[in-house]
């Protein structure tokens, strides 16, 4: 049973996630589900520590740079940061640190909401939303300025 998380905690998580993913328009409902998954995993202590440290950074200028230096740059915390990004990008959490990547997914909605596919100019596998033959052209969702 996951204990109810404070709204402020979700806000912290979303704010940090925007910096980590580079995506501003993150879905709060999805964020709530992802935070629940993180807090119900062995990553929980590390997630709490990251959010606490992020909270302490908020008043400082150059927030993204501070995140890079004090959270991503922390060798102890970075594996959990990586999990947070992986979650937003693919909806998966990595099960282990072995060479073989073992993944756990959440809901179907989460899977099809993975951010990585759009960032790659692609679509979630299984849900193109496209028309016959679209694969012959450069992607409609190709990020601007990345030709």
């Amino acid at each position: 049973m996951i204990s109810p998380k404070p709204a402020a905690m979700l806000e912290q998580f979303l704010a940090l996630s925007r910096i980590l993913t580079g995506v501003d328009a993150l879905d709060p409902a999805l964020g709530s589900q992802y935070l629940d998954r993180l807090l119900s995993s062995p990553l929980e202590p590390s997630v709490r520590l990251i959010l606490k440290r992020f909270h302490a950074l908020k008043s400082e200028a150059g927030l993204a740079g501070q995140v890079q230096k004090k959270i991503v740059g922390d060798d102890e915390l970075r594996p959990t940061v990586c999990q947070m990004v992986l979650l937003w990008y693919t909806s998966a959490l990595r099960d282990n640190q072995s060479p073989a990547i073992a993944l756990r997914y959440g809901t179907q909605e989460e899977y099809f909401s993975g951010l990585a596919w759009r960032i790659m100019g692609a679509h979630p596998p299984g849900l193109s939303g496209g028309y016959f033959g679209h694969w012959r052209y450069r992607p409609d969702n190709e990020p601007p300025g990345k030709t």
Binding site: A64, C82, A92, A116, M120, S128, T147
Partner: protein, 569 residues
């Protein structure tokens, strides 16, 4: 004697379902007995795939009851009884369910070449030519009209201009649909290699014929490029055997699912009329038929024959197990190719399938793929590396991911496996939940095929060089291969009853009323994907079966015998 059905078809995959459909259309009383279960709604299977930890072939299809009672190599890693790695292993797998393994096939439907049917005549004689390599008892011309029929039934999209007359193999009818469009990556590669040569053979990229709709066809939508043909088309644009299961039942055929056939009885006159099967509830039952069609793929079919002790006066049942050796190579293109879109593969090269070289080594196809380095963990591995090792986040992470993934190229080959008497399916001492033996597999690719694999690797390496690829990965083991999912052989077709299991009509030499349809009957395999050929053979066999039934009408039919209602559970 009144029998329950005119025909019992064992296995409701593409071969069995097409046969049942044609015979039911002809008015025969047909029963399909299927060991597996019916799939749930397609959307439910897409959901199962999306949430599965491993996106395996079986990920949409897990069904604890079926996986226990009718296990398969897809549902159980220990289903095959074979030596563990690093011994050479048989690596292709299959599903046991209504509609069969076409649920998770890629959908490619190249035909065999004219020469593929005449291997011994054209290329035999040298010391390097495998002794098991024979001529088929039929020719390309015999099968050509049935290729057209199969393409019509399945709904094949292809380019007539690119495929008519390929290696002396003409088409008598156009493809039912225009081709599946090549990918952005295919066109980019074609521009850089077409017309160039490797050791005298010219590169020419062709669109690959596919049983995948390029337009509305047979009530199914055009492909939307959802990219997961393997393991499941989310919208039914790709053909699967369930299409003909539905057509067969609509035409009047009965379908009994979750009924695992475990023995066929031979009568004193050599005919086979009694089919024993067991339900998931463990109830052993029988059904009788005037004629039996075994369509249980190339591993369950010989298993059943061996369990029944029939059709094996040649000693060839289970022998000559084949596949295609598959191998992938990887590189990074100098330009962005935008993989992870469209069908996983839309084009390939056919120029390496045939030539005088087949006197000493196998031919092969090369496929251009649209799935980047997904087989090396992309994009997950890239994300983990970029964040975990390179400490990238935000816009910098996005740019790095885009840059790395959009240039990924994968080429793969499909190499002809020569028939070898010692590569075989036998009955294992281990059994499943219904006390049915697992298949014991012995498989070692012949040197002829390893030489083809080596040549295919060199060819793909040259292609990557022409593309200006960096970060090239050709694999470290020259003899490493993957299965292609093309399970073939084990009940070979031939004119000689002493060396083959079925005749040119797919009728067993030993039992006039037992037919085998499916890729089990292939005496040799060439390098194309086998499903179109097995479908053509099944349709051709159905005509002969109908003729045989007409010659000897069902006594039950003439006496108005009632159709059994279904199995007891």
């Amino acid at each position: 004697m009144a029998r329950d059905f005119d025909v019992v078809v064992i296995g409701a995959g593409v071969a069995g379902a097409m046969t049942a459909y044609r015979l039911a259309q002809d008015g025969a009383r047909v029963l399909m007995l299927e060991a597996g279960s019916r799939n749930p709604a397609r959307a439910q299977m897409v959901g199962a795939y999306a949430t599965a930890a491993a996106k395996t072939l079986h990920s949409p299809y897990g069904n604890p009851e079926t996986d226990s009672m009718a296990p398969s190599p897809d549902s159980s890693a220990s289903y095959y009884d074979q030596p563990p790695a690093p011994h050479t292993q048989y690596k292709s797998t299959y599903e046991r369910r209504t509609g069969g393994s076409t649920w998770h096939w890629l959908g490619h439907t190249p035909r065999m070449l004219r020469s593929d049917f005449k291997m011994k005549t054209l290329y035999g004689g040298s010391r390097d030519f495998p002794p098991g390599m024979v001529d088929w008892p039929i020719t390309y011309d015999d099968l050509e009209p049935w290729y057209c029929e199969a393409e019509h039934e399945m709904g094949v999209a292809g380019s007539d201009a690119e495929w008519d007359g390929l290696s002396g193999s003409p088409r008598s009818k156009p493809f039912p649909m225009s081709m599946i469009w090549p990918s952005y990556s295919d066109d980019w590669i074609a521009q850089r290699i077409n017309g160039k040569k490797f050791q005298g053979t010219e590169y020419l990229v062709r669109s690959t014929p596919s049983a995948r709709n390029s337009q509305l066809y047979d009530g199914r939508p055009p492909c939307a490029g959802n990219s997961i043909c393997v393991p499941l088309c989310p919208i039914g644009a790709k053909y699967d055997g369930a299409v003909h299961v539905a057509k067969a039942t609509a035409a009047g055929a009965a379908l009994w699912e979750q009924c695992v056939v475990n023995k066929l009885d031979q009568d004193a006159d050599g005919s086979v009329h009694t089919i024993h099967f067991v339900t998931y509830g463990g109830v052993q039952q029988t059904v009788t038929a005037n004629l039996v069609v075994i369509a249980a793929h190339a591993i369950e079919t010989p298993k059943l024959l061996l369990m029944s002790g029939i059709a094996n006066s040649s000693g060839a049942v289970g022998r000559y197990l084949m596949d295609h050796l598959s191998k992938s190579v990887f590189g990074l293109a100098p330009d962005k190719l935008f993989p992870f879109r469209g069908p996983p593969s839309t084009s390939g090269l056919e120029s390496f399938r045939d030539g005088d070289f087949r006197k000493r080594r196998a031919g092969f196809r090369v496929s251009l793929n649209n799935d980047g380095w997904s087989r090396k963990g992309a994009p997950y591995a890239e994300i983990i590396d970029l964040v975990g090792n390179q400490k990238k986040i935000g816009a910098e992470l996005q740019a790095a991911l885009f840059e790395r993934v959009t240039r990924q190229v994968r080429l793969s080959c499909s190499v002809e496996v020569a028939p070898d008497f010692n590569n075989q399916v036998q009955l294992s001492g281990t059994t499943d939940a219904l006390n049915i033996p697992h298949p014991k597999i012995t498989f070692m690719p012949p040197d002829y095929s390893y030489r083809g694999l080596s040549q295919a690797t060199k060819t793909m390496a040259d292609m990557l060089r022409l593309l200006g690829a960096t970060g090239v990965d050709l694999g470290s083991d020259d003899k490493a291969y993957d299965g292609a999912g093309h399970i073939m052989g084990t009940c070979r077709m031939g004119d000689n009853p002493k060396t083959s299991v079925v005749d040119a009509q797919c009728r067993t030499h030993d039992h006039r009323n037992v037919f085998i349809v499916g890729s089990a009957v292939f005496p040799t395999v060439g390098s194309p994907n086998p499903t179109l050929t097995l479908a053509a053979l099944a349709l051709r066999a159905a005509k002969d079966i109908a003729r045989q039934l007409g010659a000897k009408p069902s006594s039950a039919k003439s006496s108005g015998g009632a159709k059994p209602k279904g199995p007891r559970r």
